[in-house]
C-alpha cells in the first residue's frame, strides 16, 4: 500500500459518560481530523455497539478508510471486536490501533481540560502509529485436545466431568490425598438439608472412573508455560510411600500403624485422630492409603520398631518406603483453576475467644455433627456433655473496615443450618445467633431462613463495628457484644462463622499461571459482568470459590460454565497464534549470532551455509528482545517496527 493511499478513520468513544465526563470527545475528534492521513474523525456514544461498529464499516465502504483508530477503552477489552470489523469489511485487522483514553485517561484523571489534552496526545500517537502499520496475515496452530483442572473440590470435579463428557482428555490435579474439597467435610447442605456426602460421593466416584479423566491426587502444579491451545504443565506427584496400583484401601496398615489414633486428622479439623498411614476420610477417592512423612517414624528416623508394622500388616505388599516424588510433564490446550478457599484463622483476633474450650469454628462444627465424623455425629462439650446454650457468631473476620472488606457469602446460611441442626439434634438446647445482616439471597434461602427462625432460634442483632468479647466464665463462656443495647449472653458453646479467605496456594498458583488477583486476594475474572469465568490469560478459566466465596450451587454452575468455555478451543482444534514475529534482513545480518541466545524459544538458528541467522516464525513469540539486541539492526519486528514505535513516541508527548 503506497503512502498516498493511506486513509485513516478515527473514532472517539464516549463510553456513555465514562470517557465523556473527563474528555471532550468532540474536540478530540475535531483535532484528529487534521492529523496526517486522517480522512474522517467521529465521536460516538458507544463505539463497541452495533451502530458504532457500523460507522466504521460504512466509512470503510464509502470513504475507502483502510486504517482505523478507535479511541476508547483498553485494547485488552475490545481490540478483538474492532479487528473483526476490519476483517469482515475487507480490511486488514492489523491496520488497526487503539488509543486507550479510558483506563489511561478518563478513569485516572479528573480535570477535563487535562484529560482532553492527554486524549488528543494519545490519539495523535495512535494515528502516527496507524499510518505506519502494515497488513499482516493471521496464523493458526493446532490445539492439544486436553484440559487441566487444578483443585478437586466440588467445582473441580464438576469442571473435569464437564470437559471429559465432551470427549476430551482431562487431568484433575488435587494436592491432598483425596478429591472432595470442603464439601466432603460438610454434614447437611443448606437450604435443602440434603446430606453432603450423599450427593458428592457419587460424583467423586464418577470423576475417578471416567475414562477421559486422569486423576492426579497428592500432586501439585509446579510450572506452566505456553499459551492457549498449547500449555506445557509440570506436575509434582508427591510420594505416598504406598503403591496405589497394589493398595486396595483395606485399611490394615492404618490400623497397624503404631501411631494409629494419635495424629490429629486435618480433615476432621483436628477433632479426630488418625495414624501415619491414613486416608483422610472413609469415602476418600481414590481410596488409597498415604503415609504422612511428617509423622511416620520410619520416614523420619529410618527405623520403626523391628520392622514397620504397616509393612507387615499389608497383605498386598503395597508399602514402598523407597518411593520418591515424581515429576510429570503434560500438555493441554486449556486450564481450569478450581483451587477453592481456606478459612480465616480466628486465633489472630483474640476477642472471639478461639482457643478457649468449646469455642469452635463452623467447619469444626460440621465435623462434629457429621455422623461419620470423629464423634459419630454427637456435638459434645469437652467434658462429654451436650451443650445447653449455644451462641453462633456471624461475620467473624468478614466485612471488616480495611482488611477483608468482603462478605463471605455462605456463612449466613450455614449458620442458620447449624442453628437448625442443634435445635433438631440436642433436645432443649437454647440457640442464639448474633448476626448483623442476614443475607438470604439465593434460591430457597429466604424460605429456609424463615423456617429456621420459626423453630425458636433466637436471632439478636449485633453491631459489627462495636467490640465483641468471648471469655471464660467459670465452667462456661460469656459473650459480650453491642446491639440495640449491650448484649451479654451465657453460653457453654460458641460457634464462629469464620470468613472465607483465598486459598493459601492462591499466590503461588497465580504466579505460576500469571493470573491476577482482585484486591481481596481471590483470582480476578476477566470482566466482572460479561466474562465472569475467563481470566486475563486466554485459555485459563476459573471455577468456584477460587474466584470469590460462593455456595455449592453457584460453584457448580460456574464449574459447568468453565468446562464449556475451556472446551471451545478444544472443539475448534485450532487457535490463532501470535502474528507478530521477527524478521531478519539477510543483507544486513553479519552472522554474529548475538541474537541466538537471547531468544528463549530457540526461534533463531544459524544457517552455516549462508553464514546468517534465520527465524522460525512458528516458534517466534514476537517478544522483540532479539531486535533490541542485534548490533547490526538486522532484525525487524512485525507490528512493532522501530519506525512505528518512534513515530508513536514522537506524537504522543
Amino acid at each position: 500500500m503506497s503512502r498516498d493511499e493511506i486513509k485513516i478513520g478515527v473514532y472517539v468513544c464516549h463510553c456513555g459518560i465514562n470517557i465523556e465526563a473527563t474528555v471532550d470527545t468532540a474536540r478530540v475528534a475535531e483535532f484528529a481530523s487534521h492529523l496526517p492521513g486522517v480522512v474522517v474523525a467521529r465521536d460516538y456514544k458507544y463505539m463497541c455497539s452495533d451502530p458504532g461498529q457500523e460507522l466504521i464499516r460504512e466509512d470503510m465502504r464509502e470513504l475507502g478508510v483502510n486504517r482505523v483508530v478507535v479511541a476508547s477503552c483498553s485494547p485488552r477489552m475490545h481490540e478483538p471486536t474492532y479487528r473483526a470489523v476490519l476483517a469482515e469489511t475487507g480490511g486488514n485487522e492489523y491496520c488497526f490501533e487503539m488509543a486507550n483514553i479510558r483506563e489511561q485517561c478518563s478513569w485516572v484523571h479528573k480535570n477535563r481540560e487535562e484529560g482532553t489534552k492527554k486524549a488528543m496526545d494519545l490519539v495523535e500517537g495512535a494515528v502516527a502509529r496507524a499510518y505506519l502499520l502494515e497488513p499482516l496475515e493471521p496464523r493458526e496452530v493446532d490445539v492439544i485436545p486436553a484440559c487441566l483442572v487444578i483443585g478437586g473440590g466440588v467445582s473441580g470435579i464438576y469442571a473435569a466431568l464437564g470437559v471429559a463428557e465432551k470427549g476430551f482428555k482431562t487431568y484433575l490435579v488435587e494436592k491432598t490425598p483425596s478429591i472432595g474439597g470442603h464439601m466432603a467435610q460438610l454434614d447437611k447442605t443448606f437450604p435443602t438439608l440434603d446430606c453432603s456426602a450423599c450427593i458428592l460421593t457419587p460424583k467423586m466416584v464418577d470423576a475417578a472412573r471416567h475414562p477421559n479423566i486422569e486423576l492426579m491426587t497428592y500432586s501439585e502444579v509446579m510450572d506452566v508455560s505456553g499459551y492457549v491451545g498449547n500449555f506445557n504443565v509440570t506436575i509434582r506427584k508427591k510420594p505416598r510411600y504406598i503403591d496405589i496400583d497394589l493398595c486396595t484401601g483395606c485399611g490394615l496398615c492404618g490400623e497397624a500403624c503404631i501411631l494409629s489414633g494419635k495424629i490429629p486428622n486435618e480433615f476432621d479439623m483436628k477433632k479426630g485422630k488418625r495414624g501415619a498411614a491414613y486416608v483422610p476420610f472413609p469415602q476418600a477417592v481414590p481410596l488409597k492409603y498415604t503415609i504422612d512423612p511428617e509423622n511416620c517414624i520410619f520416614l523420619k528416623k529410618g527405623k520403626c520398631g523391628k520392622s514397620p508394622a504397616c509393612q507387615e500388616a499389608c497383605p498386598r505388599d503395597a508399602i514402598d518406603f523407597t518411593q520418591r516424588e515424581e515429576i510429570v510433564e503434560i500438555e493441554v490446550g486449556s486450564i481450569i483453576i478450581a483451587t477453592g478457599y481456606d478459612l480465616f484463622d480466628p486465633s489472630t483476633e483474640p476477642q472471639y475467644g478461639y482457643g478457649l474450650p468449646n469455642v469452635i469454628t463452623g467447619l469444626e462444627f460440621e465435623r462434629l455433627i457429621n455422623a461419620s465424623g470423629p464423634t459419630g455425629g454427637k456435638v459434645l462439650l469437652e467434658n462429654g456433655e451436650y451443650p445447653k446454650k449455644v451462641v453462633l457468631i456471624q461475620c467473624v473476620g468478614s466485612r471488616e473496615i480495611g482488611g477483608r472488606t468482603y462478605c463471605s457469602r455462605f456463612c449466613c446460611m450455614y449458620t442458620a443450618k447449624h442453628a437448625h441442626l442443634i435445635e433438631e439434634k440436642i433436645e432443649g438446647a437454647e440457640v442464639t445467633v448474633l448476626y448483623t445482616d442476614v443475607r438470604a439471597f439465593g434460591k430457597g434461602f429466604e424460605e429456609f431462613y424463615n423456617r429456621v427462625r420459626s423453630e425458636g432460634i433466637n436471632y439478636i442483632w449485633r453491631d459489627l463495628y462495636a467490640p465483641i468479647e468471648v471469655t471464660q466464665n467459670g465452667d462456661g463462656l460469656k459473650v459480650k457484644a453491642e446491639g440495640v443495647g449491650p448484649i451479654e449472653l451465657d453460653a457453654d458453646m460458641v460457634v464462629l462463622a469464620t470468613a472465607a479467605v483465598p486459598s493459601r496456594d492462591a499466590k503461588e498458583i497465580g504466579s505460576v499461571l500469571k493470573i491476577p488477583e482482585s484486591p481481596d486476594g481471590f483470582f480476578m475474572e476477566s470482566h466482572p459482568k460479561l466474562k465472569p469465568i475467563d481470566t486475563a490469560s486466554d485459555g485459563i478459566f476459573l471455577a468456584g470459590c477460587c474466584q470469590s466465596p460462593k455456595d455449592i450451587p453457584d460453584s457448580v454452575a460456574q464449574a459447568c460454565g468453565a468446562a464449556s468455555r475451556a472446551a471451545i478451543s478444544l472443539f475448534r482444534g485450532k487457535v490463532p497464534i501470535e502474528v507478530i514475529s521477527s524478521q531478519i534482513n539477510e543483507e544486513i545480518c553479519s552472522g554474529c549470532r548475538m541474537c541466538e541466545e537471547i531468544c528463549a524459544y530457540g526461534a533463531l538458528s544459524f544457517d552455516e551455509e549462508k553464514g546468517l541467522m534465520t527465524v522460525n516464525e512458528v516458534l517466534c513469540k514476537g517478544c522483540g528482545s532479539c531486535a533490541s539486541t542485534c548490533p547490526s539492526g538486522a532484525i525487524t519486528m512485525k507490528h512493532y517496527k522501530d519506525a512505528q514505535i518512534f513515530a508513536q513516541i514522537e506524537a504522543v508527548v
Binding site: 483498553s74 485494547p75 485488552r76 486507550n100 479510558r102 483506563e103 489511561q104 485517561c105 478513569w107 485516572v108 484523571h109 479528573k110 480535570n111 487535562e114 484529560g115 489534552k117 492527554k118 496526545d121 494519545l122 500517537g125 497465580g510 504466579s511 500469571k514 491476577p516 488477583e517 482482585s518 484486591p519 480476578m524 486475563a536 507478530i580 553479519s590 554474529c592 548475538m594 541474537c595 541466545e597 537471547i598 528463549a600 524459544y601 513469540k621 514476537g622 517478544c623 522483540g624 528482545s625 531486535a627 533490541s628 539486541t629 542485534c630 548490533p631 547490526s632 539492526g633 519486528m637 512493532y640 522501530d642 514505535i645 518512534f646 508513536q648 513516541i649 514522537e650 504522543v652 508527548v653
Partner: protein, 242 residues
C-alpha cells in the same frame, strides 16, 4: 513535563489498566507506549525519547521470573542499568530513566510508581540542553555496531559463559565511554576542521592523554588522519568520506 512509560503487553500494561479500573489517579503527564515485552525496549528508543526532550523514561515489565517471554525483562534491566551508569558520567541525570516490575494485578503499584517517578522528575527539574546534547551523542554511539556488540554479548558472557558480571559491566561501560568520547571528538573535528589533542581536551573537558589515545585508535581505524605538526602540535582531521 513529559514522562514516557514503556509497558509490556502481559504484566505492566494490564497493571496500568487495573489502575484505571480501580480509578487510581496518577500524573496526567504519563504517556504509555505498549510493546510486547520490556525486552523490546531498545536503548535507542529510550535515547531517542530523551533527545526529543522527554524528561523521564520508565521501562516496566513483569516481575523477575515472571516474564511472559522468560527473560526479556532481565535483558531490559541489564540495558537500563548500563544506561544509568553511562549517564552518571555523561552529564545526564541517571534518575531520568528507571525500570520497574509491575504485575497485571498491581494496579496500585502502577499508580504509585508513576506518582513517585513524577515527583522525582519534579525534583531534578526538566531535561536541559546539555543533557539533550549528551543523549544525542549516546544515541549515535548506540547506533554504531561496537557498543551494541558488547552490549548484545552480555547475556552470553555472563549467563552462559560465567564471566564475572561486575567485570563485564566495567568493560561495557569503558567501551561505551570510549565511543562517546570518540563521537564527541568527531563532532568537534567536523565543526572546526583540524585540532590537536590539547585543543580537543579543552573543548571536551576530558584529559588530553585519554583524547590522544583515542585519536590514535580512531586513526588506526581510518576514521581520522593526522595532518602533521601545525603550530607546534600534531593535528588531526576527519578522513574524507567518513
Amino acid at each position: 513535563m513529559k514522562i514516557l512509560v514503556f509497558c509490556c503487553d502481559w504484566c505492566s500494561y494490564p497493571g496500568a489498566d487495573l489502575a484505571g479500573i480501580l480509578r487510581l489517579e496518577y500524573p496526567s503527564e504519563v504517556r504509555i507506549i505498549k510493546v510486547m515485552c520490556s525486552g523490546r525496549v531498545d536503548l535507542m528508543l529510550v535515547l531517542d525519547a530523551l533527545r526529543q526532550g522527554i524528561d523521564g523514561v520508565m521501562v516496566t515489565g513483569c516481575h523477575p521470573g515472571e516474564c511472559h517471554y522468560v527473560h526479556g525483562n532481565m535483558e531490559a534491566e541489564r540495558r537500563i542499568e548500563l544506561l544509568r551508569s553511562i549517564f552518571e558520567r555523561s552529564g545526564i541525570n541517571p534518575r531520568r530513566v528507571r525500570i520497574e516490575w509491575i504485575s497485571a494485578s498491581e494496579g496500585e503499584k502502577f499508580a504509585e510508581v508513576t506518582r513517585a517517578f513524577k515527583q522525582e522528575i519534579d525534583e531534578i527539574g526538566p531535561i536541559n540542553q546539555g543533557e539533550i546534547d549528551a543523549a544525542e551523542i549516546i544515541h549515535d554511539v548506540f547506533s554504531s555496531e561496537r557498543a551494541r556488540l558488547v552490549l548484545g554479548a552480555s547475556r552470553r558472557a555472563i549467563e552462559l559463559e560465567g564471566v564475572d558480571p561486575l567485570w563485564y559491566k566495567g568493560v561495557l561501560e569503558r567501551t561505551v565511554r570510549e565511543e562517546v568520547l570518540r563521537e564527541r571528538i568527531l563532532r568537534e573535528l567536523r565543526k572546526t576542521g583540524a585540532l590537536s589533542a590539547h585543543e580537543l581536551a579543552e573543548r571536551i573537558g576530558e584529559p588530553a592523554k585519554e583524547i590522544f589515545w583515542n585519536l590514535i585508535a580512531m586513526k588506526r581505524r581510518q576514521i581520522i588522519l593526522d595532518i602533521g605538526i601545525v603550530d607546534d602540535s600534531l593535528k588531526f582531521a576527519i578522513q574524507e568520506g567518513v
